[in-house]
């Protein structure tokens, strides 16, 4: 049972880590605590449903469609909601992201109806058995893809020129402005990346379960993940995601399925009290 729970925890935690990574990219770049990140994941799943079921696109194209749609969503959110509020209090911006998530949910319920949708993809859904351990191929693929995405974006930030400019923008907006960086473009890109990572997470969540607005609750596990991992830390978001996945599965299996929220948010409170900068965060929080 232990190995089984460990595997499920790591697999789901990888997806949470991916969504949390998107959250952290947006937060680092634009200082926005994006409560709509969970809904972005849901949108990703619905975009995939639309591409596959309504538009009848082949799987590869459907994924591209989903990525493009998520990126557009992120960019539009930044242009129309975040950019006009530049310089306003964090509270105002948080309220806007909450409002955005409510509007997105209502929009989905109107457009797709309240009924959950099924995402049919050609991904294998079988089981690999190793002794007593049952490894779901879908979980495995979700985990591997999540890691691949994290590696790709890690390399993008580390080794490309645009990645450098994004890191510079995250380091300081004004410094980036005086250095000739198109800060608005970088911020939009950050929102696009954040939404795309959420969307990929949502695609897997929707495939593992069903596509419904309730996936938001899982997407929002990115919040405790980044707080636990460290708000300003990209690796922290990933580690935080993994931890939340493991905690959820272990608490659910060894204590009770009802206990998962208590344990996750209990840890969140504990971290906020004893190490508010998170496990991997830096003590002094960057800029003022």
């Amino acid at each position: 049972m232990f190995a089984q729970v460990l595997f499920s925890g790591l697999a789901l935690g990888s997806i949470y880590g991916l969504v949390a990574l998107g959250f952290a990219v947006v937060f680092k770049a634009t200082d926005v605590f994006n409560f709509a990140q969970g809904m972005f994941a849901v949108c990703g799943a619905y975009f995939a449903v639309t591409a596959i079921s309504a538009l009848d696109l082949p799987f590869g194209l459907a994924i591209l469609f989903m990525i493009a749609a998520c990126a557009t969503l992120g960019v539009l959110a930044h242009i129309f909601l975040i950019q006009p509020l530049a310089g306003r209090s964090m509270l105002a911006i948080i309220m806007v992201t909450i409002a955005l998530s409510i509007v997105l949910r209502a929009g989905i319920e109107i457009f797709y109806g309240p009924q959950g949708r099924v995402l049919t993809t050609p991904l294998p859904s079988g089981v690999i058995r190793i002794g007593d351990l049952r490894i779901s191929q879908l979980h495995l693929i979700a985990a591997l893809t999540s890691w691949a995405c994290m590696a790709i974006f890690g390399a993008f930030f580390r080794f490309t020129s645009v990645g450098l400019l994004m890191r510079a923008t995250a380091d300081g907006h004004e410094a980036a402005l005086v250095s000739g960086v198109n800060v608005n473009a970088m911020n939009r890109l950050a929102w696009a990346i954040g939404a795309v990572l959420a969307g990929i997470g949502g695609l897997f969540l929707g495939q593992l379960q069903i596509v419904s607005p309730e996936l938001e609750a899982i997407g929002l596990l990115a919040l405790p993940a980044v707080v636990i991992g460290g708000m300003q830390s990209i690796p922290g978001a990933i580690i935080g995601g993994l931890l939340v996945g493991l905690i959820a599965q272990f608490a659910g299996s060894y204590i009770s399925p009802k206990s998962t929220d208590i344990v996750i948010y209990g840890l969140l409170l504990l971290i906020l009290m004893v190490r508010p900068w998170g496990l991997l965060g830096q003590r002094e929080l960057g800029r003022v």
């Binding site: 789901l12 959950g116 659910g252 399925p257 998962t260």
Partner: protein
């Protein structure tokens, strides 16, 4: 001085007033003798009767409850096309309670007083049923054709409450009995997967009681109604290895549980409660995971047999543009609740009131669903309504529901022990 003059003038003016009232009344009576008697405070008007429906039209349970309302509406439309009931149209006032007990209470009071109705159907959320049970039982508006038969509302029997859905106790008894027999089990090990609601708890208890009859063991695991990840619950199933599981909740509950079981390569047989026997659940599961999944029902999905009532429903649904819903058990249940409502109104006399409706029903009656459902019998001691259920599965090759046997074959499971 003032007091005096007031009294005097009052005395004098009273007579003409009384006279005019009497005249008006007489005139009114003559008018109404030709037409129907109105009781607007009870929702009864000259040309229509207002009938309330209180259901989740939005929120997590809307996917099944809104379909039930469509079934009810379609049956009411059919009744009205055929001339209504005693010359009055059956006019449905649908209130959305949004899966929220507080909204339910406000909507309920609206239907009692503000836009009065003669009776209310639905009451889909078990949480609000429990919250409103006393108000309903001590009130004046009967609840006829509930969508969720909770203990709180249906026990002890009240003249104000008439169930319109397969009872949970009967679902548990028939389902467990059938599975034990079908799988040839001794000391069965059964697990209930339920959402965290009042109804879920009751159902798990009914299952435990039913399993005890076979000297088996029962356990249960719960999830939120909005759950989107049930891996821990499936881990529990994996480690407990029950002979079969039974699922209580919304469509998503069944889909999530069965899909996750399939992802882990588990082929545990399962049966869902009536609500979970919809085409969309089977479509979501696919042939592989769907093969292990049955549901227990007191209603026959449209097209599953050729009873007269079934054919009528399928034909009307197609006519109303709801052909895709006729196979949905919730649509059928709504339609049958409509039959129950229409028949109850007919029994309440030519000029019904809330009072006359209750008076007509409390003595007991039988609903004629023309074979669309198991016998629905109300006696003064028992308002459960549908008493018998049978097990359905889905034939993916022919895209049709199939029942295992007849309703009569299942009577043995739900008969009270003598």
């Amino acid at each position: 001085m003032t007091q005096n003059s007031f009294t005097r003038s009052n005395d004098r003016s009273l007579r003409p007033v009384a006279l005019s009232v009497a005249l008006t009344l007489a005139a009114g009576l003559t008018t109404f003798s030709a037409h129907a008697q109105e009781s607007p405070a009870d929702g009864v008007h000259a040309d229509r009767v207002d009938w309330g429906i209180l259901m989740d039209m939005s929120g997590p349970t809307a996917s099944s409850q809104s379909v039930w309302v469509r079934g009810f509406q379609d049956y009411a439309a059919k009744v009205n096309e055929d001339g209504g009931i005693n010359g009055r149209e059956l006019n449905l006032l649908v209130e959305d309670n949004r899966f929220d007990a507080a909204t339910d209470k406000i909507a309920f009071e609206k239907l009692v007083g503000q836009t009065p109705v003669i009776a209310i159907s639905g009451m889909g959320s078990s949480v609000s049923q429990v919250a409103l049970a006393d108000t309903i039982k001590n009130g004046k508006v009967p609840v006829i054709g509930t969508y969720t038969p909770t203990k709180a509302l249906s026990e002890p029997v009240s003249p104000m409450v008439y169930n319109g859905f397969c009872g949970y106790r009967q679902q548990a008894e028939a389902g467990v009995g059938y599975m034990v027999e079908k799988l040839g089990l001794e000391n069965p090990k059964v697990m209930t997967v339920a959402i965290e609601t009042a109804g879920g708890q009751e159902y798990a208890q009914f299952v435990a009681d039913a399993v005890a009859k076979y000297n088996g063991t029962a356990s249960s695991t719960t999830m939120k109604v909005t759950a989107a990840d049930v891996t821990p619950q499936v881990q529990q199933i994996m480690s407990e290895e029950p002979d079969f599981i039974t699922i209580y909740g919304i469509e998503n509950t069944a889909i999530l549980t069965m899909k996750t079981l399939a992802q882990y390569g588990l082929e545990t047989p399962a049966f869902g409660i009536t609500y979970l026997g919809t085409p969309s659940v089977y479509a979501a599961l696919g042939a592989e995971a769907g093969a292990n999944y049955n549901f227990i029902s007191c209603f026959t999905p449209g097209g599953a047999d050729d009873a007269e009532g079934n054919a009528e429903l399928v034909a009307y649904a197609a006519e109303a543009g709801n052909a895709d819903l006729s196979g949905n058990i919730n649509y059928v249940a709504g339609w049958v609740a409509g039959q129950l409502a229409a028949q109850a109104l007919e029994m309440a006399g030519e000029n019904p009131t809330r009072e006359s409706l209750v008076a007509a029903l409390e003595g007991g009656f039988t609903v004629d669903s023309k074979g669309l459902a198991a016998p629905i019998v109300f006696t003064p001691e028992d308002h459960t309504g549908p008493q018998v259920l049978k097990m359905f599965s889905y034939d993916y090759d022919n895209s049709a529901f199939t029942a295992d046997g007849d309703y009569a074959d299942y009577e043995k499971y739900t008969k009270p022990a003598e």
